[in-house]
């Protein structure tokens, strides 16, 4: 698949950070580009590069109307009540928060928030939060320490929300 030069340039900067997430850890660059171009083209992709062009955070989401939408790899229903975080990886909390803020600004809320839990998945259910609880989670993340020490499998000190476990009262 052909991609715009600026997209490829950005993806080159982001690839390592994306591969810090276990699911994408062995994906070849071409495949990463093809896959995330879907999100890029729909504005559901956000990232932060520092002044030297190094990747600090990257986030991709998918929006859908019906719960079963989370099973579809490619779905885009911005008026839906559900938002699944497909990818969230960052070097620091501030950058992650910037991604979160940008996507929230773009698509708004409230929505039920989901993300996959990888190997920690119980019965295949994604982690799921109401908008209010998700905002609490974000607020806690903003303050600092709690979520970032999840069982991230990154090797470079990157943080991975998808492996995090913060709030009580959820599976």
């Amino acid at each position: 698949m052909n991609h715009a030069p600026e997209y490829l340039q950005t993806m080159r900067a982001l690839a390592d950070l994306i591969r810090d997430v276990r699911m994408y850890s062995v994906w070849q660059f071409d495949f990463l580009c093809d896959w995330f171009s879907y999100f890029w083209n729909r504005g559901t992709f956000s990232y932060v590069l520092d002044k030297d062009g190094n990747a600090q955070a990257v986030c991709a989401i998918k929006l859908f109307r019906h719960l079963e939408g989370f099973l579809e790899p490619f779905i885009h229903e911005p008026d839906g009540d559900f938002c699944m975080i497909v990818l969230l990886s960052g070097r620091d909390t501030e950058s992650l928060m910037a991604c979160n803020a940008e996507l929230t600004r773009r698509f708004g809320g409230p929505r039920t928030m989901l993300w996959d839990r990888g190997e920690r998945t119980e019965n295949g259910a994604p982690r799921m939060f109401s908008w209010i609880d998700y905002q609490k989670l974000v607020a806690r993340m903003r303050k600092g320490p709690v979520m970032m020490n999840g069982r991230s499998n990154n090797k470079k000190g990157a943080v991975n929300l998808l492996a995090a476990e913060v709030l009580p009262n959820h599976r």
Binding site: L67, E68, F70, L71, T112, L114, E122, N123, G124, A125, P126, M128, F129, S130, H170, R171
Partner: protein, 154 residues
Amino acid sequence: MGTAGAGEMMSIANQPIEQYSNLYTTQALGPAETQTQQALANQAAYQSAAAQQDIQSRLDPMSYAQRQMRLQSATDRLGQLYGQDPTAFSFRAPSAYTVPGSTDVPSLATLRQGASDIAKNLALASVDKRGTNPSLHLPGPTNLSVPTVAQSYF
């Protein structure tokens, strides 16, 4: 010239009667006809959806099972999140698939009677031997029976 005039007379005189006849037929048979079309469309939709699931389950049973399990778990989780029992919500409308039977439409005898009552009101026109002087012949007063229509759900 005369025959054309006679034809025009008949056409204008009978137009409301024909419209009335159409309305009568639609009232009598329209609901059942629409219900039949909708029921068949719904049956087809159901069949198609079932076939899709059947195909997925047959061709890739493990993938299908995993998908269903994930969906079930996610549904349970969603219910838990908002304090609702997901199994408490279901909706069935068997009538949406039901094709109306003969009892749901007026009997043929009723329809025939109604149609012939209407037909008796049709006007005729004629011309003289030379084909001129067109004249209209209206039928005598006829007691139109009130059209019998099927009960509407609404």
